[in-house]
Amino acid sequence: MDRYSIACATLFGLGCTLAASSHAQEVVNPDQWSPPREAKISPVTQDQLNTADKNTTNFLLTNGNYAQTRFYPAKQINRDNVKNLHVAWIFQTQVKESLETSPIVVDGVMYVTTSFSHVYAIDAKTGEQLWHYSHKMGPVTTYCCGPNNRGVQVLGDKVYLATLDAKLLALNAKTGDVVWNTDIADPELGYSETMAPTVVKDKVLIGTNGGEYGIRGFVRAYDAKTGKLVWNFDTIPENTVGVWATKDATGRDMHRDIQAEKDQLAKIGDPYKRLGGGVWQNPAVDLATNRIYFVVGNPSPDLDGAPRPGDNLYTDSLVSLDLDTGKFVCHFQYIAHDVWDLDAASPPVLVDVKDKSGKTIPGVIHAGKTGHIYVHDRKDCSLIRFSEAMVPQENMWTLPTKEGARMLPGANGGVEWSPIATDPGQDLAYAINLHQPMHYRVENSPYPNGKLWLGGAFTAIPGEKQSGNITAVNYNTGKIKWQVKTPEPMIGGILATAGGLVFAGEGNGKFAAYNSSTGKELWSFRAGAGVNAPPSSYMVGGKQYIVVGAGGNTQVNFRRGNNIIAFTLD
């Protein structure tokens, strides 16, 4: 029974339990009849988090470790035996709606989230529910692309959660009780939270959604013990003009009318207050230099550049900050004055890379909606190289028109929010891509007070075939090593393991393992609902497991479900 239902039952009888579930997509699943149990975990230490990349038992961070490599170092499940992988258990949540969670595993306890900001603690060996936190959502939620939640993180004895109504919560990791609850921002102004927090050195790092609603984006650090704000970094500085860049990161002309923009700037001033710049995904943390790296999303409104002259800093950019102070270190903008929503959403990854002279240096890589993987020098964010395009590109950068201009990639990418994986031993990055031919249309309208502000529309072209792919890119050469085509666009994420495998799911319910060196499919399973979440791996009782959510996806409208599925070997 979830906490709110217990309170209702105690005070008013069971008749009011439905009040806790006001969202139409939630399904009834009688967990109220099984009493909550304590999740028996030891407090997670900072040392454990620092060395998560070597931990073959737990899965402690959303993307595996602070470098966000999504490379799991265990190899009990490998190329030879993955054909024998089978279901260990299936856990059904109460929520049949888009499922984007990255399962976190600590000492045999799994923490997963669902749409509408529910959290479940599950026995990672048996799939039994231990406790369920059902967030009592405020009446006003304003969000783009689904009521998603991408997960939690644990530090000490607390589980950290950011919610759709823009709150940050610390829960007791053993019981699910709320320890503290902080308002991040006002949902009535277009703010919402779907990302998992990153917790490091007693700071809870969180960005914000809202780039489709005219917000002013930010990344913030909150005190992990108290929930008090430690620092705030506005992703939109007060001077957003930049250098009037006419070319994108790959050197292609973006067809800007710079003089018209300068005239508009003189007329309306800097547009920073409503320029968007959401941060959809987790920052990577460089423990050696005490810096964080994250990417900033699109400017508002998405398709109409008229109300926002200038480069619109730091939208569509990689940004680095000092972890302790939140002070700016460096940035690199991929697309200045974006009018296509081909922004930066997939979380950056820290790996050692070859620079232009062939010397190995600390690097940071990001997979863009453009379909390129960008490789940067971690020291100053500068671009070293970009990969071959992983998806078809046509008519870039045709400006949106009233009638609709055809251009590829479509506005979802390329690589959407889906985290990539890497295998540093092979110099490979693995990305899942969408191919959705779209028309880009522009309309002009004033800021609508926190409501959807697209400045036009991007619409899939009826009759044009959509598809997807899994692509392995050598980030030291930029060359594609292998590519597996999929029948539908791919969104969700991917996991690489020391067993020489990558795991990824599709919207049609297929979840498969591939040889990470060749892309050869070695095993697959049909989940019955879209597998559009990043997989995780862990060990319990001496056995390695692979786990993934199968709940479909709102954004691309893949079949919904409510399953967390764990796989293992006999």
């Binding site: 783009c144 309309e443 309208s445 959807l452 529309a457 479909g552 709102t554």
Partner: protein, 193 residues
Amino acid sequence: MVRNLISMISRGIIFGALLSVAPALAQSIAEKVEVCAGCHGQDGKPKDKTIPVIWGQQAGYIYIQLRDYKRGDRKNETMQPIVSSFEKDDMRAIAEYFAKKPWPNLGQPRSPKHVAQRALSAEHSVGCTGCHLEQFQGDGTTPRLAGQSQEYLAKTIADFRTRARGNNPGMTDLMRATSPDDLAALAEYLAGL
């Protein structure tokens, strides 16, 4: 809408509403919302089919619409005088009141197969379910569309396209990017859900 206003004035509904809202805090929500039934229906079924169903609608959506009428962001000769004296707490309470009511069955028929196919093709292109969700039930500040009056849906779509309804330009953009025939199919399809 002017016709409705005249009708309401003649029945003393608006005058009564304004009187009843003045001592707002002293009255129950049930008393405050009495006036609403005049147009939105005693049983949740509006007699004028261009007036929306609000019983069972999402609370966040109802609140934002009341707020927008008060601000003047959404214009309606009937609604604006009614909400002018409402405070934020009143609007939230009224929204909760109607959200908890059962959604009425308007008895609208399922759309024929060819209409449904056209509607779903348009939905796939625009991505309606990205906000209104898979079953078009809405959530938070996004309204339920499933089972809403077809005439109201058609009117609202038209008002978005002409910007007569100006409080959600994102919807205006999406409606203008879709052909009238596709939108007519969508209205019929959604009404029949």
